[in-house]
Symmetry: C2
Subunit: 333 residues, 2 copies
């Protein structure tokens, strides 16, 4: 790569800040702008916001359209929301400015599942503006979908694909511990879960991506989300779970064809979860079982995946992509 | 897929026959021709050669150019040799006929490593004839290269990638047991190894593919091949290894940058190898360790990978591809 890729970081939460820090460390990447809606960050130097020991000469702004108009950039790293609908206006502004975009928005992994119409419109706009957009991350984005799909390549026939991801939320950042409902009572968990304010977003998208990639028409996609109850008190760096309190979540997405469960994605994310791991199992010919011991750690790997995707976006054809239609996802400097 | 993909099977050895059988079982694929250089097969019905209980109305021929001229086809599954130079004329005939091709030729996984000039010429011809060609398989093709490269996506930084594949040759077909040198004496093994007639082909190609995918300029690529000596007598379905005789091979490909070993591919293929497995280890941030228990079984998975690649080839742009430049490799009907 001769010319550096000029990047704007959109969203300076934990993942956005980590992505910006990683982008700054890569020789082929130049960070030329930063956006956050938090008015207290506006005008501050990005180096300071990232707790670096130097100024970067890049002021954080809450006015993305003005920044896009005034800055020569190539790609936006977008980390603001899990919801494709919430992300949609931001993404269209990015694409209208002719910029590529990699987003950590979980529903954008396979937006055709929940938001077919909007996804189609965004794809049209991408083509019109010669921009490429893709949603990715560790989960969704790699372990429960792209990696599983690649493994199917070795099979003559497949009856079912099962993926299990077990995450010890106690080793993760506070926001994630709160997101899985750790330290809530069962009643609080239930109330929040009804408002969809607890748990992981993206399991259904991973499943829909897998089904689409395999060319399987799934008749029914079922999701469930339940609390994991602590059998003993647990204390993390950030919170305390009482015995009988909620330690986190256990979620399923299940895909059925002709009444038979052919795709099963199970996510366990709770404080104190033993033996964290990612397991992909293919029931087929040959049967296959892949294990990542310890599991791919989200806090480190999600920023990596966002930044590693930048050079894929610059190379690929315009459009709203999925992890299937970019060149092989990989780390490349 | 509305129109079936019309396939010609080129090469009717063990892998070629298995690929043809699998292709015949797939609804979206039609087998319209078969080629083998063995004159005793010429004119025989493919169904009979494949030991099916029905005739297919497809006669095996040893005249590929005539077949290509007389048959409407889309893709060739090519399984004749490990050597890209040996495959080259056959591949050019295929491409000249405007046909796509997936080949099990090991050196074609990354032909730019050993045969840059020929690879470039074939790529030019592909573009001129609107044909796509790719070399793939289990190894090389999936476990020691494509899968490892995908896993790097999760990393912020990488110091080294190490892949280990252990295959119990005793569970594989006779040709493979012979290929790894099982039942030879050490002297015979040494003589054959000097003639490059023993061992696995493709380890260096996997390494060169990985290095290229990571954007790493490797200063030196070292290969080694040694016999594994049987510590006790072993008998397989096809042969007997005496105590002190050769049970198989242990091969390495090592990639060095600035004197440091950054890529290590180790293949153990011998009769009686305990705990067969594929292990991908990334020394980096985060460190990652992926294990496929039992290993991906080559005899079943190689034909699967060839056949699963057909629909990728039909979709992709013309050219000499690698597993990096097709859409995400996967099983899709």
């Amino acid at each position: 790569m001769s010319e550096p890729i000029r990047v704007i970081q959109y969203g300076l939460g934990a993942i956005g800040r980590a992505a910006a820090r990683l982008a700054l460390s890569r020789p082929g990447i130049e960070v030329v702008g930063a956006i956050d809606r938090d008015p207290t960050l506006a005008g501050r130097d990005l180096g300071e916001v990232l707790s670096l020991d130097r100024k970067l000469g890049v002021a954080v702004t809450d006015k993305p359209v003005i920044l896009f108009a005034q800055t020569r950039a190539d790609v936006v790293i977008h980390c603001t929301t899990s919801s494709f609908v919430e992300a949609y206006e931001q993404l269209t502004e990015i694409v209208r400015a002719g910029l590529h975009c990699v987003t950590s928005c979980e529903e954008a992994l396979f937006p055709y599942y929940r938001h077919k119409l909007l996804a189609g419109k965004l794809d049209d706009l991408c083509i019109q503006k010669s921009a490429a957009v893709v949603g990715t991350g560790v989960n969704p984005g790699l372990v429960m979908d792209t990696l599983a799909l690649l493994l199917t390549m070795a099979c003559q026939s497949i009856e079912a694909v099962r993926v299990l991801r077990v995450v010890d939320a106690g080793t993760r950042r506070e926001a994630l511990q709160r997101k899985v409902g750790a330290a809530l009572s069962e009643e609080e968990f239930k109330a929040r879960s009804e408002q969809r304010k607890v748990g992981h977003v993206g399991l259904a998208e991973s499943l829909a991506f897998l089904a689409d990639g395999l060319g399987w028409a799934v008749d029914e996609l079922k999701e469930s989300l339940d609390p994991v109850i602590a059998s003993k008190a647990i204390k993390t760096e950030f919170l305390s779970v009482a015995e009988g309190g909620v330690a986190g979540v256990r979620q399923f997405a299940r895909g059925l064809r002709g009444g038979k469960e052919v795709l099963t994605l199970e996510l366990q994310m709770y404080v104190g979860a033993p033996n964290p791991r990612d397991v992909i199992e293919i029931v087929g010919e040959p049967p296959l079982r892949l294990v990542i011991e310890g599991g791919v750690p989200g806090d480190v790997a999600t920023p990596a995946i966002l930044v590693n995707t930048l050079s894929r976006l610059v190379e690929c054809r315009p459009g709203l992509h999925t992890m299937r239609t970019l060149g092989l996802p990989r780390m490349a400097l």
